[in-house]
Symmetry: C2
């Protein structure tokens, strides 16, 4: 067991993850208010929207408008997701987007084909173009994601060797292109990770990309999200993606038995950290306000736990205990 980190950084993904999976039609005003509430809670990086094909993802067609509507808080980065040049161009043309150079690798060949229309090796080679493009724009590369790094609903279990291939490619790419990569995220895109696997794959990153910070992008698909987060924290990981209120889960879509599963829940993760003495920089009561705002906007009970139970506190005055 490594030492617990003294402080963790949590990147909020809810505004994108959450509204991407819901039917279109949520107002700009509501979604901007949620982003503002998240920023007010002390989160310093919030993924607001994606710039993707509006014909396929109509929920995100108004991404530029949403960015323009947000009252910005100093010190907070408002990021976006893009998957191709067209999307990047739109994000770049939107003044309020804090562009972050991100590379995407896939440990699963079949999942890469499904998402990108090309296999994992070709997708990896394609990242050379992004390195060049980001450089041309004067944009630093901030992170690389290894998607489906634990398993894939198409291929099944993903071996350590497959993840190692992605990581070795990243190491080679850094050398070829002469850039320094600050962070690599292992993404449990569809919920195949378990705690032992989490620790071994963190070690793998540390072996193959020494000095690169390890981040985790976890989904709570099969109920192991928080156990996996604990395993990572206790293995020294200090960088996580998460979604307020567990946004991104949806009882009506996706999986065989009626539900897609969201990212691990931001406020539950932050609560775990704070309870274990790990600083998050987050004001939990304010983050709970944001989670409850998300629930009012979505109009359906969301998956977060702490938002429904409240922070632990004594109800009796001292004298009566």
């Amino acid at each position: 067991m490594a030492a617990l980190p003294a402080r963790v950084e949590i990147h909020e993904e809810g505004p994108r993850e959450g509204f991407q999976i819901e039917p279109p039609g949520f107002s700009i005003a509501d979604r901007a208010a949620l982003v503002e509430a998240l920023a007010d809670s002390g989160l310093t990086r919030i993924q607001v929207a994606s710039f993707v094909n509006p014909a396929r993802v109509p929920q995100m067609a108004d991404a530029a408008e949403l960015f323009a509507a947000i009252r910005r808080k100093p010190g907070v980065r408002y990021t976006a997701l893009w998957l191709n040049e067209q999307g990047f161009d739109r994000a770049r043309a939107t003044a309020a987007v804090d562009l972050a150079g991100t590379l995407y690798f896939y440990a699963s060949d079949a999942f890469s084909r499904q998402n990108n229309g090309r296999g994992a090796a070709e997708q990896a080679q394609g990242q050379r173009g992004w390195v060049a493009r980001y450089r041309a724009e004067g944009l630093a590369i901030e992170s690389a994601y290894v998607m489906t790094a634990f398993g894939c609903n198409l291929e099944g279990a993903i071996s350590e060797e497959r993840v190692a291939e992605s990581l070795r490619f990243i190491a080679q790419l850094q050398q070829d292109e002469g850039f320094r990569l600050p962070a690599v995220y292992l993404a449990d895109t569809v919920g195949w990770a378990e705690p032992r696997m989490i620790r071994r794959r963190i070690d793998l990153v540390r072996d193959l990309l020494p000095g690169v910070r390890v981040g985790l992008h976890l989904h709570d698909t099969r109920g192991l999200g928080m156990a996996n987060a604990l395993a990572a924290l206790e293995h020294g990981v200090d960088l996580f993606d998460a979604s307020v209120a567990g946004l991104g889960g949806c009882p009506f879509c996706g999986h065989a038995h009626g539900g897609a599963a969201g990212n691990i829940c931001t406020e539950d993760l932050a609560f775990l950290c704070e309870q274990m003495g790990i600083a998050t920089g987050i004001d939990l009561p304010r983050l709970l306000d944001a989670a409850r705002l998300a629930e009012r906007i979505i109009g359906r009970r969301l998956d977060g736990k702490l938002m429904h139970s409240g922070l632990p506190q004594a109800q009796l005055p001292e004298a009566a205990r």
Copy 2:
């Protein structure tokens, strides 16, 4: 970190926890079918109902009838909960109840007063009467619970010393009354535990009651249930209470922000164990059937995760990967 147990024992609490918190009126046939489905999944101990005041808990007024309706599976114990002599007398008079001698201690004085009308010390002394009663009935004492062993919504945080007081009392009681206690459960009754606390309090039991098996009764009130379970597993604990589908949680009752929280979810816990190589004796697909049956009976989306996502499996034939 202790070695992971090779095998864990999970006691099912859903039929009691779940239907106690719902409005009355669920049929005997449905509830018996759920108990039978749970037994068919390989669970070997199922708490079916409680024998408590029917005026206060009308949901459990038909406990004897429910027990009588269950098609029993050999090797499974069908247990009940009681809180006073009257309840015990009713349980004892019900042929199908597998009586298990259980003692209840409270680390929180205020919580004990609320539940039992007497403080923690008086409640502890009261357990002497139960030791005598069980002995008179020829019933072995199987376990003792320390309720609110981590914190309490009335008193707030519960110190290690308060838990130690309960444990020392139990040690003394064993000595005074000359019985051997097989297991002590630490109960996080209202969701105050976090992983470090879990480990320290397990150590405390091992120090003060050497040789006694430690069990955990965890609630997922604030989202840390599975992280706490992982901490316990990795600290060598092999005995847990849990509720199928997370039964016992209820969005409409209990807490300040609209929800009571159930026990940790049986199938999600069993999945965590199996994924980590720990045997549970449970047939997970069958347990998922039982969880989905529970959801159909309750008629509302339940909190379990795996029941909605399904077990991880590849969707592509080998050749296409």
